[in-house]
């Protein structure tokens, strides 16, 4: 398939608070890292797909395309989406259609510039009615957990295990991030810390169950596979990209315990790639909270509904670096996930893809996953809003 898309290079900034850097410095840094890693120059780009969720609000930047044009001194077509996964999907479609052969996909976000108001913005844009009723960005996650516990009748000892499993997700992601030089939080936390924070908050989820507010930028250079072979040694092919949409209003959704958009997107992405869940080895989940990491394992079909916590609990009690799913290793959120790597919304998906790219190429340094079977396939899942949009992208290594 000569028009199939492939990633030839990736770049990113550290996530966290970038008080001293303007948004353009961040995306420039990400783009330069990516372009250094392959032989492509600015002038080779035929189009740019940029993503950001809040720049018009946080930095009063409208027409982000113009800002990117100024930065790259390019006058090629540019479009803005709200997540890197969305930009990737659009870019891939353009390459598949044969319109372009070299495209830049980038994402950036500078949420800390609006530190005092960002939670209001997040919630209002995520679901206005819930915001008007007093909801916070955290509350839907807590409600989903309570609905989950109720639906599957998890009580007593099992409820205890479920709570521990969720805490272990945060602990595991923080542990992974200690090996990630770009991560926002490169420090370990303990299960006790997670549990203590919940106790402080007087509810089922606490500070350590949620992804932070972050700044950062990521960039991917995408070409057709034909061009990729000439550009670099080991491109990563984009085998499947899919998205699905759900209601803004979480309470109005039929199923309060799962994200139907994720289920649909996964099914379509698998179909497109011709793979099944069993083939996927490296997984980057959208852990806005520990609950979404757990639920995503079910939505994406790795675990039966109502059982993911058992898998997590079994794998994390003596954590070896992966979830054990049906006797197979499933490397999940090796970069630390949104929890510890950071969650600058418009750039987050890029960090997930960055990680899969590095892992599949065996370039992940200290956090490189090792497996008896060589790592060939990875999958990333990203949300916009609280599961209102769900994107699944599947990646694979080119055959040597």
């Amino acid at each position: 398939m000569q028009n199939s898309p492939a990633i030839v290079a990736v770049g990113r900034t550290k996530f966290g608070e970038h008080y001293g850097k303007e948004p353009e410095r961040l995306i420039e840094e990400a783009w330069l890292t990516a372009s250094h890693n392959c032989g492509l120059e600015r002038k080779d780009l035929e189009a740019c797909y940029l993503s950001d969720c809040f720049l018009p609000i946080t930095n009063k930047l409208g027409l982000e395309e113009g800002f990117l044009s100024e930065l790259t001194q390019l006058h090629v077509p540019m479009e803005v989406t709200r997540s890197v996964s969305a930009a990737l999907l659009t870019a891939c479609n353009a390459i598949r259609a044969g319109v372009y052969s070299t495209v830049l996909v980038g994402g950036l976000e500078k949420m800390t510039d609006r530190w005092d108001k960002i939670r209001d913005d997040l919630m209002l844009l995520e679901d206005p009615w819930s915001y008007y009723a007093g909801g916070t960005p955290e509350s839907n996650h807590e409600l989903m957990l309570r609905a989950y516990i109720k639906k599957y009748g998890i009580t007593g000892n099992d409820a205890e295990k479920l709570n521990l499993a969720l805490a272990q997700i945060a602990v595991k992601n923080h542990a992974n991030a200690t090996k990630n030089e770009y991560a926002q939080y490169q420090r370990k936390i303990s299960v006790d810390q997670v549990l203590h924070a919940r106790k402080e908050a007087r509810k089922s989820l606490g500070l350590y169950d949620f992804a932070p507010i972050s700044d950062g930028a990521t960039a991917l250079i995408l070409t057709s596979q034909e061009k990729a072979q000439k550009t670099c040694n080991n491109p990563i092919n984009v085998l499947g990209t899919a998205s699905a949409t759900d209601y803004l209003n979480y309470p109005a959704r039929d199923d309060l315990t799962h994200f139907i958009a994720s289920k649909i997107a996964m099914e379509k992405a698998l179909q497109m790639s011709g793979l099944t869940q069993k083939d996927l080895q490296v997984l980057e989940l959208n852990d806005q909270s520990t609950v979404t990491e757990m639920v995503s394992l079910e939505d994406l079909g790795f675990c039966e509904e109502g059982t993911a916590w058992k898998t997590i609990y079994a794998s994390c009690t003596d954590y070896k670096g992966y979830y054990e799913v049906n006797g197979k290793k499933l490397f999940t959120n090796l970069n630390g996930g949104l929890k510890a790597d950071g969650n600058p919304l418009g750039a987050t998906g890029g960090a997930q893809i960055f990680e899969i790219f590095k892992q599949l190429r065996g370039e992940a340094g200290p956090r490189q996953a090792t497996s008896e079977t060589p790592l060939c396939y990875g999958c990333s899942s990203e949300f916009e809003g609280f599961g209102t949009k769900s994107y699944v992208s599947i990646f694979g290594r080119s055959k040597p």
């Binding site: 005092d116 008007y132 009723a133 007093g134 509350s139 409600l143 509810k203 209003n249 109005a252």
Partner: protein, 502 residues
Amino acid sequence: MSSEPIERRVSYLGDRLKASKCQICGKEYFEIRDYCTNCGRKSYMRMSPVDLFYEKGKLEICTLVTEPTNKFTKLESFVYGIVSFHDGKIRVPGRLTDQIITDGEAVDLAALEGREVVPRFRRRYTVSKSDVVPTISLAFTLADEYYPHQEYKVAAQNKEYELPGIVGYGIYTSRFRIREGGLERAVPFMDEDSVTAAVEAGKNALIHSGIDSANIGKVYVGSESNPYAVKPIASKVAQVLKLGEEDGDVQGVDAVDTEFACKAATSMFKDATALINYPGSGIKNTMVIGADNSQAAPRGCPGGELDLFVGYGGAAYVFGKHDVIAEIEGWYSVTSDTPDFWRRDGEPYPMHGGRFTGDPAYFKHVKKATTKLMSKFNLKAQDINYFVPHQPNPAFPVKVARDMGFKEEQYACSLQVNRIGNTYSGCSPVGLAAVLDIAKPDEQILVASYGSGAGSDAYLLRTTKQLPDKRKRQKMNIKYLTANPFVQHVDYTTYRRLKLGM
């Protein structure tokens, strides 16, 4: 964020909790829909409106919000969750209101889940002083606590009277009280104000009167604590309670706010009555509401002496010719320009004229209006069953009643100022409601309101046989509100904080 067109849409849908139902498959949606997603094009024009305003819901799941978003920070901590209606056919987000959760207090969420809740019309969140005050009914209270679920049923009308009179009334005051000495006064919750009290009182009056809200031709709201200097409370009441004929998003009703200190509502009783009797007006019913979040400067500041007596709440009266519970036999009003109490535009609290307030103001006007009315009807104090004097504090009404020869059994039952405080425009109407709660048929009631500035309206009413019949429709009467086991007492600091509102 508070852009007016969005605000209009949100309040239009959210104040009343408007929903829709597909007539083909029965699927229901929060918000108005033109067609059903299940049935598609064939359901176009076959969606019927669903109204959740008088319904009760179920709190399905909930969580505690301890770090609210910016606009909710004044509420500190609250319970937030998902409320379902119609056996789960509609689910909406909602917060529990009327609950003070102290710092560090554990909340048993599981014990709240599955409980029945009633939607409450409240302020939505905090906005800056010059913004539109946003409201919503996605605030709920537990149905088995302070505020019961009440069905609103339009009753068949039986007897037609020759002249219009009171056909129903409703009162409202908040769950919170401050107790100082022998005095108990109502304190609004953070998200309550004169607008929400007016709506609650009006809602209770509709439930009690059993009339179709579409029959209301005009609504008057008397208040001196409207959060706006310009923008009526009455328009909100008309829209939320769907007064007058509904046509698209406009109600076929006249709505107006009136102001004359504490007599802004009683002054309109005669106008509301006269309007029904105007030949060819076509108006079957009118509504008068008096409601206030009575303002007072903090104790120790100029005007702070009012802080000892101010309350929160109000009463609403529906007038009409069918199934009258109290006929209006006559009235007499007096007015003089007496500056005993005033609030200049832009000032948050009223000022008080010291020695003016007793003799040349309250006593003079109330006595004059009462005496004139009694002599007009050739009545003596002992001929009247109940005397309802205006009650700005516990002492004045007792003194005026005694001075005029009324005995304790004639006036005592009307005195509510020591239970819910001085509700300003709602004050005399609440006193009248207390009497109507207990009066027998064919008894005479004399109400004498007082408004600083100054004036007094005296009305002579006669109860009818319909009065006891209609009582069973009314759960929220004075006794229910004042002897409610779920009333919560707060200290002075909390009282001031709650009164200031969102």
